[in-house]
Symmetry: C2
């Protein structure tokens, strides 16, 4: 193993520029939703230079819509392909899925970026651009690991299933499609931007919308009306209490450094139409976190009960109960036992490569890991070189050193997990 | 006087249909802002059948804009005339302005109206339509009073200055223009819809806008951000305390039946853009009441200080103080001494006509009365036959009996205030 690690390190040094250029080309292709094809073509080109079986298909909207786990703003995916590359093992070993998403969130206000948002500019060892950290750097670390193993003539026993999927940012339709197509393995890795932390548990999340009613009146006689803003403030305070209650239950040591493990975020408040009128309708939208071991339906029930209690203590709410809806994407939570063999493997390889214990935490956001865990029944870990804090923000960047470190850890992890024949 | 009253009552009975038809024609002309000309033409036609000097002019935007009391969403008034009709007295008496506005607020959602919003339909002694109560019924009660006096050969000593102005709903530019043109009198009446109550004091009001800042973060790690919604709730609670403090000061017996004499209404709250993000900006808009004897600048100062105190107790507000703006229309407060001769005259005539004491209160909303009081230095009373609760609402209506009662009271008031020669 030590010899293979040294060979991998040497290979990565020799191919540093190649890896950097590949990442740059990927970042310079703005792959927001519906525009993934060009970036996927770069992935396909990279895979074609390796000895992998390439599978490219456009997820089928009709089939997906019948699946209870399907969420997307769109119902068809023409022109938006998934790409899978399978490095067939020689047999008798454990398989692994290396999952990553090609789609990126919109770049937002260009004025907030120092460079063009898709520049791929490199300064002080960092590459800048939307998607470089979330998560094209993670995709490239997979490709480097696979190519290194291949070119070094290392023959893995188990299959390696590389996946570059669409729609992670929009609800997981790409990964769901890959699962429905039949891709399974003994373990899965997702190189979302974790700052090189290892997340054996991931928070789930979903979006809620609440309508709070009031009664209109002239602002000069506001006491004749009922302010939907005042009522909404009561609802928001109640939600804050619910959040406190839910988080007091969390005693998982993985969350010991997290101030609020499963937050409930109020993201949008909008109500009233006229300064001189008492507002009669307020809309609240937000994101509710789901604990790694929690069922989404149970979390939704708690929110429903929280609002229900308001109707029992306030006669206005009794007559005009708030209306609760769930909309948009849902990210399933996920978790793997800390003593799981897959966890031990990755942690060991991290330690060997870095020379320190990894930071092990629960992730504060959802990923496709929940789908892979719940639908695929595959133990999944999230671990990647990207910078958590800058994902989705202007001047998103990655530290290139970390990408190559991750590639080394992944390559050695593949060797340990999938197994190799004894080599001369 | 008694004989003249009986003649006036008889005249009004004989001209009931004429008055009803005039009101109907006025209501059926939708005179929302910029569309006043047709309704004003009906007013001019009615005036031309009386022996009054008619003055019609389009307020001059350029001149008005230089005036500190000018507020309007528009800066020119082409096609939107004011109409004044002066019934010249024979001399030696007190003059009076009979002020009313021709403009109406938009009808809103047609689905909420039982009839067409401008139907002028009559059922059970009520006429329906946008503007019938606020305040075309009030304008018609003036016209009936003037016509009755004229046709009965009653010669008033003082001048009667009838005014049908634009822009009352938009900030007072019509009344301001009439004042700048030079129209003055010893007293003024405004037949806004008071349910036949007499308002010697009127609340002023103005619109405020407050921007509250936060700091964005991902909803899954909301503790890394600062929620502008939470901060806005603090601001709103503080404003509520300010309202309580301001109202505790009010000991005017005229307000004894008013739950909140000078309310601060939160009308619009809008913040955040994404359910999964901590909101970093919230906008609050509302209406602040001004006490009859209060200066607008002093009320604005109190609001400013209220927000200033927040910066002293909360370090976030210290670094990111809320931004306060005043925008849109301002309605000056107004008040007249309860013992003023003008007040005594109207109260006396009310009592004589109705046989009961009038209800005397302070008005909960602003009118052009503040402008007439402050700019014109003219003692002003607000009193009219319209139904307060339905102004600005769907299915606005007026009780026709009240309009004719008001006409009788106004005619007799003119006789007492302006004076008459002894008649045979």
């Amino acid at each position: 193993m030590k010899e293979m690690r040294e060979q991998i390190q040497k290979w990565l040094e020799e191919h540093r520029e190649e890896g950097t250029v590949l990442l740059q080309r990927l970042v310079q292709s703005p792959s927001i939703a519906k525009n993934e094809a060009k970036a996927q073509a770069i992935i396909i080109e990279a895979l074609s230079k390796m000895n992998v079986q390439v599978d490219v298909w456009e997820p089928d909207g009709k089939t997906l819509q019948e699946n209870p786990y399907f969420y997307s703003p769109r119902d068809q995916f023409t022109g938006s392909p998934n790409v899978v590359g399978v490095l067939r093992g020689i047999g008798g070993g454990r398989s692994i899925i290396l999952n990553g998403h090609i789609d990126v969130v919109p770049e937002g206000d260009h004025d907030q970026w120092s460079d063009d948002p898709y520049s791929g500019a490199i300064r002080d060892g960092k590459m800048y651009g939307r998607g470089v950290t979330d998560m094209k750097g993670g995709l490239v670390s997979y490709l480097l690991a696979i190519k290194a193993i291949q070119q070094l003539g290392i023959k893995l026993k188990g299959d390696v299933i590389f996946q570059s999927v669409i729609e992670e940012e929009s609800g997981g339709a790409g990964t769901l499609s890959a699962l429905l197509k039949g891709y399974r393995a003994d373990a899965a890795l997702i190189t979302e931007p974790t700052n090189m932390r290892i997340f054996p548990k991931q928070q789930g999340s979903m979006w809620f919308r609440i309508f709070v009613k009031g009664r209109s009146a002239h602002g000069g006689t506001r006491y004749e009306g009922v302010s939907a803003v005042e009522k909404a403030m009561t609802v928001i305070n109640d939600i804050r209490n619910l959040e406190t209650k839910r988080n007091q239950r969390i005693d998982d040591p993985l969350y010991k450094n997290t101030p609020i493990p499963i937050p409930i975020n109020i993201g949008v408040v909008s109500g009233g139409t006229w300064p001189s009128s008492v507002p009669d309708l307020v809309k609240i939208e937000g994101r509710m976190g789901v604990a790694p071991n929690e069922k989404i339906a149970d979390a939704q029930n708690e929110m429903r009960q929280c609002l229900q209690q308001l109707t029992e203590v306030d006669s206005w709410f009794k007559e005009h109960p708030p209306i609760l809806e769930w909309f948009g994407g849902q990210w399933l939570p996920g978790s793997i036992d800390l003593e799981h063999e897959w966890m031990n493997t990755l942690v060991y390889q991290y330690r060997e490569a870095i020379g320190e214990e990894p930071v092990i935490e629960a992730s504060p956001w959802g990923t496709d890991g929940g789908l892979i865990t719940e639908v695929g029944k595959i133990p999944t870990i999230v671990f990647g070189p990207g910078v958590t804090e800058v994902a989705h923000y202007p001047d998103e960047y990655i530290k290139l050193d970390k990408m190559f470190q991750a590639a080394e850890i992944i390559a050695c992890t593949l060797i340990q997990w999938c197994g190799v024949n004894d080599r001369k």
